[in-house]
Amino acid sequence: MVITSEPESRSISVSDFLDAISERHPVSSLSSQAALSEHYLTSSRVQKLGLALSGFADKIHKGRIQIYGNSERSYISRLSDIQVSEAYARLDKENISCILITAGIEATEELVEFSEASSIPILATTIPSSDAITAVSNVLSERLAPEVTIHGTLMEVFGIGVLIVGDSGIGKSECALDLITRGHRLISDDSVRIREVGEKLVGDAPSSIRDFIEIRGLGIINAKELFGVSALSPSVEIRFCIEFSEERLGGDRLGLEPNVMPLLKSRIQKYPLPVKPGRNLATLVEASVRVFVSSQDGPKAVENLLHGHANAMNATIKN
């Protein structure tokens, strides 16, 4: 399966941005749904509208949120009515994607008129500019991160995000069920959305299938209803990957050969686990996590084994 395809430079509509940010912060819209859906954000960086209002209109970058805060309000309040209309007339309507009014400031008549005439959406929040800027950048850097959705199951085992991949019907979901009953947490079954935020790969469930598991013979079950909220986690950083396969492993029996899986621009460690009747997959997944964690610091068990074995052989020869 090809899962490294490069997504194009990403964008999010102001409407989707509003949905995302209003989950965490008190942000509302003063504009029509049409204006919200027509405009797109492409950068997680924000700008203060003040610079453009004071005459440096060419400094506006398309695709960024323009912040209208206390400094903008006090600047505008010092201008005469004519100067205010001139200031708005100078603004580059083509390049303004969205204006966010912060600190609970009331939108002036001129600003509302400007927004309606140019159909540029206005959002408003009660939080002050400095906090709003952090909130906006956080939401946008998540939403604009490269993203891919793949077939697989994502679990949090001993607090570590493990992506389980393998053919359909090989037992990923049954293994997930087993892991849940051992107290581990499910993020998503059968389909995992992965975002590359900074250097991290963060996985969650596509919204349409969140909380569900398909168990052959039982159909689609709701894990949250059956096992409770503690059986689920909304998202986790993906640290490594396990591939279930029916193929017999001919090659590496020591676990020395590095095996990687490319995901977006990252590469993560991959452990191939052959599936056979009688193998307890949940136990093997738990063991993989222990192996992964211990390999992150200190020598691998196998290196210790080889070292000890070599010493023992030498001792035999000497005797």
Binding site: T149, H151, D167, D190, S191, I209
Partner: protein, 92 residues
């Protein structure tokens, strides 16, 4: 390996019952069958229902179906047929 661009033509899109039909058909074949939705960068395994549902493919969504294996020719023909006749729904 065979690849085909398919557009969802039925009014309700790839909803739960349509997805179940597709998965039932796909599971009959030995070939591996992948469905890709380019506009959201979503890959699905056609033999897994939740994976297919995660495509959230409404009417007019463009998908790329990739079939690879011994019975790929027949598998592709039947999958294209299922999409083309709108999963047996009316196409209005």
């Amino acid at each position: 390996m065979r690849e085909s661009r398919i557009v969802v033509v039925n009014r309700l899109g790839l909803h739960a019952r349509a997805a179940a039909q597709l998965v039932r058909l796909a599971a009959k074949f030995d070939s591996s069958i992948t469905i890709f939705r380019a506009d959201r960068n979503v890959f699905a395994n056609a033999k897994s229902i939740l994976s297919v549902l995660a495509l959230a493919a409404a009417k007019d969504t463009e998908l790329v179906v990739t079939v690879s294996g011994e019975d790929e020719e027949l598998a592709m023909k039947e999958i294209e047929g299922l999409f083309a006749n709108g999963f047996g729904e009316s196409l209005q």
